[in-house]
């Protein structure tokens, strides 16, 4: 179903591109190099199972857009991301992604909203064989300037992950909002909130019976060493992010962000809650 929808959207966009015979407008290449700290990579509820680590990231991306009509355009994003962890090498990954959007803006007026339909395709190559796999996503979003300092964004999305091990398969539905605040010379601040429902994974030491009974899938985790078991549950996740982007001229910027994720999973005896924090500092450049 997801693959079919992605294929239809990609096909429609490429056919439109071919039919309009307008050259693609390439945007600059974007480089992001960052370092971050995740305090709960395992997404574990119990402190003895919670493992944190340093995460170094390098990402390259490029966007191309294709005018379709005066008010509509197709936007294609290609990205390549490499992530290296300090201790838990099983989570090192190389990810390639393609994203297509069909955007519609009602007019050129300052407050005119922009609507988009999005299809994502992403291939993850982890050192952990279990996690390696493919992600598909579909989304509909809208963005609008509320004032000359505040921009707002809202999105509903559906995503699916097919991994080598069924414990890392999953489907999620999400709603997300984000607000950006331009603070002049000191850059911009942003905050986002997201609510997800669907499959969540949690890795714990040992294989407790209540977890095993409630889990949709279970497996020994190949990223954290012997004794760690990963479970897939149905649950609810909330994420919020606060960030600060400091421009250093037109082509460079620094970005500092803090993301907190909390998941709630119901098992027969209790509601289990995981919380993880991720703080990252990144240098961004376009050329």
């Amino acid at each position: 179903m997801f693959r079919s929808c992605c294929a239809v959207i990609y096909g429609a966009l490429f056919c439109t591109a071919a039919a309009t015979a307008t050259p693609l407008q390439l945007e600059p290449v974007r480089l992001e190099a960052g370092i971050g700290w995740d305090d709960n990579l395992t997404q574990a509820a119990e402190s003895r199972s919670r493992l944190g680590d340093r995460v170094a990231t390098v990402a390259l991306s490029r966007r191309a857009s294709l005018p379709i009509t005066a008010n509509a355009r197709a936007v294609f994003d290609a990205s390549l991301l490499a992530e290296k962890l300090g201790r838990y090498g099983g989570l090192d990954r190389l990810t390639g992604g393609l994203s297509s959007q069909l955007q519609y803006r009602t007019s050129a007026a300052f407050f005119a909203p922009t609507f988009a339909l999005v299809a994502d395709l992403q291939r993850d190559q982890y050192r952990s064989h279990q996690r390696t796999g493919t992600r598909f996503g579909l989304a509909a979003n809208a963005r609008q300037s509320w004032t000359d300092r505040i921009d707002a964004f809202a999105e509903v999305s559906w995503s699916r992950r097919d991994a080598n091990d069924a414990v890392f398969d999953g489907v999620q539905r999400a709603v997300r909002t984000r607000v950006d605040y331009a603070a002049g010379k000191i850059g911009s601040f942003y905050g986002s909130a997201e609510l997800r429902r669907g499959d969540v994974q949690s890795t714990n030491m040992g294989s407790e019976l209540e977890y095993a009974n409630a889990a949709r899938a279970e497996s020994a985790d190949d990223a954290f060493g012997a004794g760690y078991h990963v479970f897939r549950f149905f649950g609810r996740t909330t994420l919020w992010t606060l960030g600060w982007n400091l421009p250093l001229g037109a082509a460079h910027a620094l970005d500092l962000s803090w993301r907190q994720a909390q998941s709630w999973v119901h098992i027969p005896t209790e509601t289990v809650r995981y919380r993880s924090n991720f703080v990252s500092f990144a240098y961004l450049r376009q050329f």
């Binding site: 945007e27 600059p28 974007r30 992001e32 991306s61 857009s65 005066a70 008010n71 355009r73 994003d77 955007q103 803006r105 007019s107 050129a108 007026a109 300052f110 407050f111 005119a112 922009t114 300037s145 509320w146 004032t147 000359d148 300092r149 505040i150 964004f153 984000r178 331009a182 002049g184 010379k185 911009s188 986002s192 960030g243 982007n245 421009p247 250093l248 001229g249 037109a250 082509a251 460079h252 910027a253 970005d255 962000s257 990144a282 961004l284 450049r285 376009q286």
Partner: protein, 244 residues
């Protein structure tokens, strides 16, 4: 009876003072809220020229407030870390920090009721949009004929940067009349430098795109009830941000 009148008079006075105090607090609060949360750009009320003033801005040497009028013949300047966004007639302007613009009036106004800027002399950085109005921009190194368009200029004693964001502009070097170019642009198609020094006929050269954005053009167009000729603002001209 007199006592009642006296009491009512006192109450009326108190009420008027309270309302005055509330208005006195509310107006600065509203202005402060706008300064913090941002404004909603749209046509300005009649008689008002400034949309936003940041830092030190003067008109003809006098410190400007949002109520200060601006007319052809006036000179607007900005200090360090300052910016002024204002409207004169159907022309909208964004003057960046440490800049000065002289707004020249027409010798014989096309329409005496309209505010019409015939020419501009600038040092510093200025973004401007107008339509269907021919005018002359003068910098220390260049003279540029503008035919109702969106443009951005940075002017130093030895070098002028000029981007025809959209529309048409004719530029000529002040020191070398053989150095001249006409640019017709749909979207920042050919930014140029006009240098004081250089070979004859070669003082105008290609420049990179710098220091202005589509979002700013949309904002200043909105102040005069218009929109740029392109629908989607590009993020290329802003510093990079994490995509979402």
């Amino acid at each position: 009876m007199e006592n009642f009148d006296f009491i009512f008079a006192r109450r009326r006075q108190l009420l008027i003072r309270a309302l005055g105090a509330a208005a006195g607090i509310a107006l600065p609060l509203s202005l402060r809220a706008q300064a913090i949360l941002g404004g909603t750009p749209g046509p300005l009320p009649p008689g008002r020229a400034f949309y936003r003033i940041t830092g030190d801005v003067t008109v003809n040497g006098q410190i400007a407030t949002l109520e200060t009028p601006v007319h052809p013949g006036d000179t607007v300047t900005t200090g360090d870390s300052s910016e002024a966004i204002f409207v004169v007639g159907s022309q909208s302007l964004l003057l960046r920090e440490r800049s000065r613009v002289e707004l020249e009036s027409a010798a014989a106004p096309v329409n005496s009721a309209a505010l019409f800027i015939a020419g501009l002399r600038i040092t510093g950085k200025l973004l401007s949009v107008s339509r269907d109005v021919g005018q002359r921009l003068t910098t220390p190194t260049a003279t540029i004929g503008i035919r109702g368009t969106g443009w951005y200029a940075e002017s130093d004693p030895d070098l002028t940067y000029f981007c025809t964001c959209y529309g048409e502009a004719d530029m000529v070097s002040n020191e070398d009349p053989a150095s001249r170019e006409t640019v017709v642009s749909k979207r920042h198609d050919r930014p140029l430098y006009i240098a004081r020094e250089g070979p004859e006929g070669g003082r105008i050269r290609d420049a990179p795109f710098i220091n202005h954005t589509d979002q700013e053009l949309m904002l200043i167009e909105a102040l005069v009830g218009r929109a740029p000729p392109f629908v989607f603002p590009s993020d290329n001209y802003r510093s990079p941000q994490r995509r979402y």
